[in-house]
Symmetry: C2
Subunit: 224 residues, 2 copies
DNA sequence: ACCTGAACACCGTTCAAGT
DNA sequence: ACCTGAACACCGTTCAAGT
């Protein structure tokens, strides 16, 4: 038994059944131990969830010269990093709200880049590629907001909550409106007319396009 | 007693002590009633939280000609709407994570604009100001991602969780690093050097700048 | 050193019973 | 029609006791 094993089991439980399934008792059972044993390694449930967030954020890799062409510059650096954070969100959609909403340990850590290692790598990566201090800090702010908005929305749409795993699936496809929803839709003609367009999943395009645009925006401030 | 009264009391409780303080028993006590009485008006705790989210989103006002100069156009429409959603986040920082992370009832509702009324108003507002169907839908996607990223980050930084209201405030200012944090900061020289810049609160500027830039981006797609 | 049984306070929820 | 007492299953957490 170890703190690390407990955290890994908690992540598995979150991935499989959502955050609400992580109780000390169920987690103990998953590790073939009583709930009280966990308190040797973890300062209660809140501390455990904090450790889960830290472990997940620790899987973010800061792009190195190995991942990049020299010609890519800071744009390539941010592109690769953005996609790695998106990978994290895609691998753990049910855990991402935790990463997004637990309030950071220090005011200079902004979700989802909420570890000193990652922030340090971010700032150094940009400054090594020509950013001033102020530009790097501004880029950090803009980059975290961008990631949070897009990735949390993707996770939420994916039904990340997953709390009611045992939702009593009534007849019919859940994405098809039942009679009640159809009735209310009728009062909102634009939504009704654009329903299909609104329902289409453009997560990939959206992410790429918004990232592209963020880079343009940062370039304007970088050049001046 | 009424469903509405219960929802209002729940919002007060969230604002004062965070979402975790909203238990059926405590909410009942706040209304001078036993917890079981609430089940007459609410289908359990999850349904209650859903109603809280709906009530808060319902306070979003779709800008009308009364709020706007005719010269403002769609940019003014989105500016006013963005600030009204930001007002909501500022008034209920502890509730905003709920708005942000609870998964929407329909796939065409994206947080934080997660009501048919608001989406209808959004789409009609843009189309009345010259957007095509496709442009309005794309704007909806980009606008919601923008709002979510910026407002959730603001709420999180404000210590929105607030779960441990009874945190055992040890000596010293919580924003000043204690000895442990100082020690670990030493291993991250760029963060240490830029600590003050990273800690500064630029939420207003950030929001305005990112909004401005979003409008520029939408203008490019609108014009073409 | 590590795990557990028993206990406590609190929780969501149901339902028969009160008024 | 509306509220409640009692009950059940489950929860986080503590601590003395086991091995």
């Amino acid at each position: 038994m170890s703190r690390h094993r407990i955290v890994l089991a908690a992540i598995d439980l979150i991935d499989a059944e959502g955050v609400t399934a992580v109780t000390m008792r169920r987690l103990g059972a998953a590790l073939d131990v009583e709930a009280m044993s966990l308190y040797r390694y973890v300062n209660g449930r809140e501390d455990l969830l904090e450790a889960v967030v830290d472990a997940l954020v620790d899987t973010i890799e800061i792009p190195t010269v190995g991942h990049l062409q020299p010609v890519d510059g800071w744009q390539g650096f941010l592109q690769v990093l953005a996609h790695d954070v998106r990978r994290l969100a895609a691998e753990h959609p049910a855990a991402f709200p935790l990463i997004a909403t637990r309030h950071p340990a220090a005011p200079w850590l902004r979700p989802p880049l909420r570890s000193l290692r990652v922030v340090e790598g971010f700032l150094e990566g940009l400054m090594a590629r020509g950013f001033t201090d102020a530009q790097a800090v501004e880029a950090y702010r803009a980059f975290t907001s961008f990631l949070l908005g897009h990735l949390l929305l993707e996770a939420a749409m994916r039904g990340a909550e997953m709390s009611p795993v045992e939702e009593p699936l009534d007849e019919g496809d859940a994405d098809l409106p039942n009679r009640d929803e159809e009735l209310s839709l009728r009062d909102f003609p634009s939504v009704e007319r654009l329903r299909d367009a609104l329902t289409e999943d453009h997560a990939d395009d959206e992410f790429e396009k918004a990232l592209e645009h963020l880079l343009v925006r940062l370039d304007l401030e970088h050049a001046q």
